[in-house]
Symmetry: C2
Subunit: 541 residues, 2 copies
């Protein structure tokens, strides 16, 4: 240490691990009486949002949940789900928000793999969770959330409100011991059979939220509508971003056009996020529920590029669309199609073509490139040469839980390999052309083709199967299966029977919509040529 560093080290006054938990503490201190959360007729002010979250943290600690323990939740976008985004992490625990569209087997796998010690269950998902728990040898403790806005299902285990009452909001909350401490665990539908557990840290949660606040223009007057599922990489970290600026969360149990339009009007919503399928739904909503927006509403979309007809429709309704890009592995958004003013003057077709670009890196992302994966060099900026999007920075995951091989592969060479195949335009904006990982994105949900194939392969009369995406006007993509029968069994199954088999063994949304019986095209080394099948799927009437 030189004389220039002597006495200039870290201490309690000038260093603290970054954590998104601080956002709630701060906003509750500044705006105790401001509405933090709206849910139906219920309005929760910041003081109360903080009190309830701190009670949850305290109750978890008092029942033995400690640092690094995983706490799962299955719930729609309700106040309890938002409270979990603070209460769980303020207990020093790791939040695992479950995709409620999964089947019981997948949920049981995730609870077991993540080692969940406790799970919070919205009453509507009690039947699904009961099926999942029945599959587990050592199921977690169950807390049931009785949301007054639904009568579906039942309240499992200990009632959430009683559980909160066990906690004391004045207990100290558990600050992370370091900003690398685990914050949240989100499972992706990977290409291998089982989903992979993407681990976030407090540092990334804080920085991602700040990046969202800056990139999406959040401010204290913002009113954010929860159209995006909170289980999607923690709602793209917006539970933390909206709270960071002292904005208002507007909850939404289901994604339904009439309620969305009504919420926007009644609550003067200013910001929302959603998959392109939701935008499509809004555009095609019946005239009776559609409303022309008469105030500024910014909607961020991502996961797939919004089609131009959808952009046009949204603009006509009065929405201002922003296209974000990201993956679960990057805390949700890590790129955006930043909109230069000169694009305003383009005609709609050109504007839509620009809007379809994934764009450029977030201010919190260090590197965002399109790379030739063989050479490691950037592809030409010609808008034509395809490469892979590589990212690096502080909002890239810690890694995949208990899966060093997958982590090492994802981080090879010191960059995160997104698996998204893209071109780089001359202006430095990336645009995805294809996915290398055979993921089918249907209605905003990722479907692993390999997982569907696994189920098909289990059918005693099916010999070979390959599943690819088929373009779909409503869902973006749907799975299309190509199947070869066991010799002698040709004609023993029809399309409906195969679909029924899949629906019996998978979440329904993952089942193929179309099934084609034929021999599969293969390379000389015996690999199935999916690109040939994709062409075929596209041509199916």
């Amino acid at each position: 240490m030189t004389i220039y560093e002597e006495g200039l080290g870290a201490n309690a006054a000038n260093y603290t691990p970054l954590t998104p938990a601080d956002f709630l503490e701060r906003s509750a201190a500044i705006w105790p009486n401001k509405v933090a959360v709206i849910h139906g007729d219920r309005q929760v002010v910041y003081r109360e949002f903080r009190r309830r979250s701190r009670c949850l943290a305290s109750a978890l600690v008092r029942c033995g949940i400690g640092r690094g323990d995983v706490v799962s939740i299955i719930a729609p976008n309700t106040p309890a789900m938002l409270e979990a985004h603070y209460g769980v992490i303020m207990a020093g625990a790791v939040l695992n928000a479950l995709n409620y569209r999964l089947d019981a087997e997948s949920i049981a796998f995730i609870l077991g793999h993540g080692g969940a010690r406790l799970v919070l269950v919205d009453r509507a998902f009690a039947p699904l969770m009961q099926d999942a728990l029945a599959l587990m040898e050592t199921p977690p403790v169950v807390i049931g959330i009785d949301d007054p806005l639904t009568t579906e299902g039942t309240v499992l285990g200990v009632d959430y409100e009683s559980f909160l009452a066990e906690g004391d909001a004045t207990d100290d909350w558990q600050r992370p011991t370091g900003e690398w401490d685990s914050l949240a665990l989100n499972y992706t539908s990977g290409t291998t059979g089982n989903p992979k557990g993407v681990m976030f840290h407090h540092r990334g949660g804080f920085l991602s939220a700040m990046g969202n606040a800056v990139a999406f223009g959040l401010e204290p007057s913002s009113r954010y509508l929860w159209t995006l599922p909170l289980f999607h990489c923690n709602g793209w970290t917006f539970p933390w971003a909206v709270t960071a600026v002292g904005g208002t969360h507007v909850c939404l149990r289901g994604v339904e056009a009439a309620e969305i339009f009504a919420s926007i009007a009644v609550h003067r919503v200013s910001h929302m996020c959603a998959a392109p399928i939701v935008l499509n739904m809004l555009v095609h909503a019946p005239d009776a529920v559609k409303r022309r927006i008469d105030h500024r509403v910014r909607i961020a979309t991502g996961g797939a590029a919004p089609p131009s007809a959808v952009i046009e429709g949204m603009e006509q309704l009065g929405f201002e669309v922003t296209h974000l890009y990201g993956l679960t592995e990057t805390y949700g958004p890590s790129g955006l199609c930043a909109w230069p003013p000169e694009w305003d003057d383009l005609d709609l077709t050109s504007r839509a073509a620009r809007m379809a670009r994934q764009g450029v890196g977030y201010p919190t992302v260090e590197g965002f490139r399109v790379v030739n994966p063989q050479t490691g060099f950037d592809v030409l900026r010609d808008g034509a040469t395809v490469g892979e999007i590589w990212l690096r920075g502080n909002t890239v995951m810690k890694g995949y839980l208990k899966n060093r091989a997958a982590s090492d592969e994802a981080f090879a060479g010191g960059w995160f390999h997104s698996g998204d195949l893209a071109v780089m335009h001359p202006d430095g904006y990336a645009e995805i052309k294809d996915r290398s990982k055979d993921i089918i994105i249907s209605g905003g949900e990722n479907i692993s083709s390999l997982e569907v194939e696994e189920v098909l392969y289990k059918h005693p009369q099916i010999m070979e199967a390959a599943v690819v995406a088929r373009p779909d006007a409503t869902w973006g993509e749907t799975p299309c299966a190509f199947v070869t029968m066991v010799p002698g069994q040709k004609g023993a199954l029809d399309e409906a029977a195969v679909i029924a088999w899949c629906r019996d063994n998978l979440a329904h949304y993952k089942a193929p919509r179309r099934v084609v019986f034929q021999d599969l095209p293969k390379t000389s080394t015996g690999k199935i040529q999916k690109f040939v099948l994709r062409e075929q799927a596209r041509a199916i009437e």
Copy 2:
């Protein structure tokens, strides 16, 4: 390490030291042709801003400037000053921006104490720098900046443009090896003895800039006018914040009302920062140069509370005033008077009283309290009990360079002791009553000089006022007022009239016993130099 942490460590893909240097790289990549810097008729696009900054970094490295070396600059708010905020730190060096209103002795002290290896000198400050260098045994290398907007002074040493030409923009820049690496060194104008060198790190520079972007609502369309000196804690970190969002910097050599109003109109300025004294100057500018603002202009002020008459005047001109709070030790702003919508409905007097509050901590600040320094406990939230503002968080300095005793004192107990005496209002907003050294103790009663000044500012014929303690055989101290009259009103008031005004509007014991009519001595940042006035007060018969 548990199985839950195995394989989840930091690597090049998911960890990078935070640094504000990345903001320029990113904005230049996204908006290469967007105007980054405006200076008179010259417009510099982001590609060029980056190219020149990278040339500076390269030229510094090539002439032997290495990691941790200090590079000083003395310049007004010009493009070279902005380039230094990137070029120097991208060389791995530490930026030391000098206050050009200091005398040669102070500058020589700072250059020697900081160990500056090179100094960049705007031609207007060549005479001052020559005097300073003559006092040094081993003066630094000198580079002279020939700003075309001035003919003052001379170009010292190697010409800046020739120096840049020695560098190569394609050379790798020096990323910090860790985010604790030193970024900038700013000397405070201590009131006693030698100035202290406040050391910033890359982590704090990044976070402070993000905090400013969020707190002050910066976005890509923002056009930021450089009324605040860049040497004042690196322009409150706005060189980094404005660049982070891809906004436009509008330079300004001097702080002069006509040019400010013209710049705002011509360049459609959206954001600016300035000390209250500059706001006062704008309010009292001649009608010939004043312009009613017809677009949204947000002005952040700090360093002292803006008097209510000034707030009223600014609002009448069309400005939207935000009150920030901070010190050099906290990278500039670390608190703000966040404005709840319900305050909009208050009358002007009440609004101004609210606006005078220093408010609440930034989203990047962990703790912001008003504390009884004897007990370490928070003072009552009664708006009356005076304590000291204590802060902690990642935007608190590393410490004072080569001054462990002062650092230890500032950080005692794990909090940064601001030295600002404040009350905490019931709503959690802090309000400064005085610097500890500005409190006047008269007959055992504390008198806030700010409170007396506030009354003086309300007098229609008084433009500026400062109140200090004057030693008194009977009372210990009594308040002594220094007053500047509104132009054209010189001689309109006498001492007795001013004292009578105060007695009509204050507890009698708080009224000044003596009033002096004169121009007020100011620091380079527009702060009134109370230590000079204290000397004067002491000498009054």
